[in-house]
Assembly symmetry: none
DNA sequence: CATGAATGAGTATTCATTCAT
DNA sequence: CATGAATGAATACTCATTCAT
């Protein structure tokens, strides 16, 4: 029975991959189900065996790809071992930006929904197994650096909205500046955002931890 | 002849208003040009006399509505006369959020493109006269409070992306929390963002100026 | 499965027949695809499953009908068994003219493209099997009567252009005379055309009559 | 009053010229009245002041252009002064072919309607003054060379259909051969056609020549 | 005479979805 | 499970024609 089962997963993955390619090449609105099944070498009816409609496959694709992206950034984190929590977040931000810069298809797909891909699935059950739980990684990191934070999920939400939203504008339209020009500002804002969410710190103290005066 | 000209403007405005209504009621994708002209009481061809297609009227509508929204917030500012620059920005943010809460149609239209409506048109020439230049107001306010800021337009961009992006998620999907629950956090982040952009203050000093210890 | 396949051929033929009827009744320009599928009792989309557009079905129809017409004239030839090659060609010409007189729809369709329906497809591969190869019949007849002719296909081309072109004018507009009034002249011209292409009769002899040397 | 009148003729000519250009560039079906008036720099309504519709301007254009073409060929005739009637006809045929080769727009317009442009207008009254009466020239030439011919207009009709029809195929599609390859054959056929229409050669005799009794 | 804004019937074409095989 | 022929509602867009100015 594993054979049939494997075959089904294989078909689904083919559909995923093909849809992603086409959304990238032609855009979501201009991609038809015919396009997808034609290139995938499957019959039209088969599509409906696996997905409800075009929106269904897109949404699952966003979750899937966002999960993948953040899982990869977690890997990066494990490799680079940054010195502080702030550095960790900046590393993730830079990693995500770099990936989005390289992959316009991914960027167009995720658009400004970076946080949705994470937050929307963080507390749900029907999330596909493939999709990695970035939120768990995030809590782990918070813990590792002993950051106590009143509302970690709101901090993450804010960070993801900030990074996703500005990165999209800067990469896609180079408006108001290129992403490379914006990065230093983003870093600064991210740092201050993290501090404003951190517990042990009213704002005065926050700076002490980070850039210890003396 | 003023009469013909006035008639044309009148027609265009009717189309704008009707399209906005329908995008609100049925959503953009589900609204057809037929819907628009039917309700506007005009012929189909007339639509194409004024707009290239559905996307054209939407984009012009976003710019138009964003302009209106920010113009209204400027009015609010003149009325309330906040004590500081930070207070001004928070006032604008709250005002915008309140409007978006009340008007889901507007929210859906603007989605996460708040900054685009402002920044995208701030430096262009072909912006319709009706569209108000919020950016000029903003510079004026900066000036009034004697804020010196390295890159005012990047600060505004960051603020708009932050407000627009998070407000959309919180209002539209109540994800991860309601907008009312999120507001205090947003305020805090906005404050720290403004500070991190302000000149007279490198990060260490920043806290001193703002919340003078005793 | 033969069943599905047969069904497809059946549908295509229905579309052919219906389109022909309508082109006849209303003319090509005034016939819409809706007209065709409505009368054929099929869905609009089905049309596009078999033909690219209205022009596609027309072109295929011309080839189809021209083939049929000439195949029928070949039948006539086998029945009547004319005494000479010239008589054979006149018989075909008369047969074709008679058919076109009876069937204005066919005439309007073929217009002055009689030769195109034959020559255009004579040397191509993608010609539908239904379309009969008149050119082969023609060579056969040439052979039967032992006619040696330098360029048989140019002779056929000339004959077809002559017959098709003049018949259209005379039948459709009765300009400059009716086809019946023109027929004797056409016969004379066809005869002399055939002779001028025949080998055993070089140009020298023909000129004797006209511009007698000496 | 001449001024207003001249202005009207000027407008009409502009429309003619522009329509011809566009029919050439985009084809008749794809050219719209908007296209014509836009390029002509006139208002849409103005078109309807001069022509009934697109078909009207096309038909008048065909007559106009055919007239011009044949008038030019008459000029050629006066210049070259050919030795015989046959030579005259061949000269006209070659001249027409050369012009059509050089001007595809003209060719596409006239298509296979060369004879219509001449015959259709030869006996009518409402022919525009600009359009030259080729038929009169033709009779003149017949007379000059003392050709007696039973039905001169049928001879001309046959010649024009033959030249127009074959030239279109050969030039436009190079089917079945190029026009240059076909020319010698056309000449031969034209010669024999002229002879078969000439009086001194009745039908009885004509056959004698062909299949010489003795 | 000239204009060009307005019209709206008309048309081609697409494409998600179903269901018999 | 898989197929892909058939469907037909839905829609965008065109363009000849009119008529008030």
């Amino acid at each position: 029975m594993g054979k049939v089962e494997a075959n089904k997963i294989q078909k689904k993955n083919t559909l995923f991959a093909t849809a992603f390619e086409l959304f990238h090449e032609k855009g979501f609105a201009r991609t038809t189900i015919s396009d997808i099944v034609n290139r995938a070498g499957l019959a039209k009816g088969t599509f409906y065996l696996y997905f409800k409609d075009k929106y269904d496959i897109r949404d699952k694709l966003i979750i899937h790809k966002t999960g993948q992206l953040l899982a990869a950034s977690h890997h990066e984190l494990l490799k680079k071992k940054p010195a502080s929590f702030e550095e960790s977040i900046l590393l993730v931000a830079d990693f995500v930006i770099e990936k989005l810069k390289q992959d316009r298809g991914l960027l167009a797909l995720i658009t400004k929904n970076l946080s949705w891909g994470v937050m929307g699935t963080a507390f749900q059950k029907n999330v596909p197994e493939e999709s990695v739980r970035f939120y768990d990684y995030y809590l782990e990191i918070l813990n590792r650096y002993q950051i106590s934070c009143t509302d970690p999920e709101l901090m993450l939400f804010t960070i993801l909205e900030l990074v996703g939203s500005t990165a999209c504008s800067c990469i896609l339209y180079e408006q108001p500046v290129s992403i490379d020009a914006y990065k230093p500002y983003l870093h600064r804002v991210l740092r201050s955002t993290i501090r404003s969410f951190s517990k042990n710190q009213d704002m005065e103290e926050s700076s002490h931890n980070k850039t210890p005066a003396t």
